[in-house]
Amino acid sequence: MTDTVVKLRLNQQQLELMDRTIAQGVAPDRVSLVRLALREYAAARKAEISTKVPQ
């Protein structure tokens, strides 16, 4: 299956924050940083759901 492209709209301040985060070695480039954010954010939500006590 092919990739789906989402076109993020970011201003220069948001890009600066991303670039400073990348400079810390968190990810190699902007796209990788977004993908990392997605994986970690989704994993955290999955963990939240799995630890919830059923009503």
Binding site: K7, V31, A37
Partner: protein, 311 residues
């Protein structure tokens, strides 16, 4: 110095306050004599009264009830730690309520004249040539408050006892102005006005060692950094014909960053994206996810509050 040395002592009677020059490294103790008395508190940089303690900044950093271990911060663009709460035997202070004022007592209780914290502060500050317009929102010591279910701030009675006190350590030279809260027809001070004791000490080495280090940042600006450092000396506002707007970081320019998502990544995204807010705008939802993740992973403070840990 291992023992605190008393520099001065005062008693502020009901209906009064006192402006005190509190130098860096000195401690102001505000102490209950009978118990059950709220003290309102203002504070200015002794060498530049335009820098003053800001309850909004302080509550953003420390919450609605700052206590031992909290700082009192000055307003932007200074944003410096002015005082450190070294001791607080009660642990219930307030930065939600503004000072009470003559208007409150006239509008709600029908008084033509009534003791009120604004006017008491103004009279105490007049000793240093400040005007009633210079009184700022007060840090309310010993005031027991909260927020009710519909979002209104409320006040209730306090349980302070004789000898209960708050110690404020000056981190810069300040004019510190505590006053006996003028509210005797509210719960604030249990429906009675009582005197308070003030004592100024020289801090010991141990006192000074208790203060956590806070960052010194370029954004903590002083008049040296201002485009217009002069204090305006008249009251009317008139347009400066030479004014040219120079807002930082403008113009804001938006660029596109195409992010290819694999089928697995797209499934992950679809499971967590905030369609309740962004509908079918996946770009906005992914941007939200990116910066929400950043906050969770990297932010050292509550969102919107400045981090005060020294790096």
């Amino acid at each position: 110095m291992t023992q605190r040395q008393i520099i001065s002592e005062f008693v502020i009677e009901p209906g009064t306050g006192k402006a005190i020059e509190l130098l860096q490294g000195q401690i102001l103790r505000v102490e209950q004599i009978e118990g059950g008395q709220c003290a309102d508190f203002n504070c200015f940089n002794l060498h530049d009264y335009k820098e003053f303690m800001h309850c909004g900044r302080t509550r953003t950093v420390h919450g609605f009830h700052p206590t031992k271990g909290s700082f009192m911060w000055s307003a932007p663009p200074r944003e410096r730690a002015m005082l450190y709460i070294l001791e607080d035997t009660v642990g219930r202070n307030d930065v939600l309520f503004p000072r009470c004022s003559a208007y409150v007592y006239e509008a709600s209780y029908g008084f033509a004249v009534h003791t009120n914290c604004h006017d008491i502060q103004a009279e105490a500050q007049r000793e240093y040539c400040l005007t009633p317009d210079d009184v700022h929102d007060s840090f309310n010591l010993f005031m027991c408050t909260g927020v009710d279910a519909d979002g209104h701030a409320f006040m209730t009675r306090q349980t302070t006892r004789p000898g209960d006190h708050v110690d404020l350590l000056a981190l810069m030279d300040v004019l510190a102005i505590p006053n006996v809260c003028g509210a005797d027809v509210m719960k604030t001070s249990n429906f009675a006005l009582k005197p308070l004791k003030l004592r100024v000490f020289a801090a010991t080495e141990a006192d000074l060692a208790e203060v956590p280090k806070v960052p010194k940042l370029a954004s903590q600006r002083t008049p040296r950094d201002f485009r217009n450092p002069a204090i305006k000396s008249d009251r009317p506002l008139r347009r400066d014909p030479d004014y040219k707007a120079d807002f930082p970081n403008t113009p804001i320019v938006v660029t596109e960053l195409p992010v290819p998502l694999s089928p697995d990544e797209l499934a992950m995204f679809n499971a967590v994206k905030r369609t309740d807010i962004y509908g079918d705008d996946d770009a906005a939802a992914l941007r939200d996810l990116l910066f929400s993740w950043w906050e969770e992973r990297f932010l050292l403070a509550h969102a919107g509050a400045p981090a005060i840990e020294s790096q």
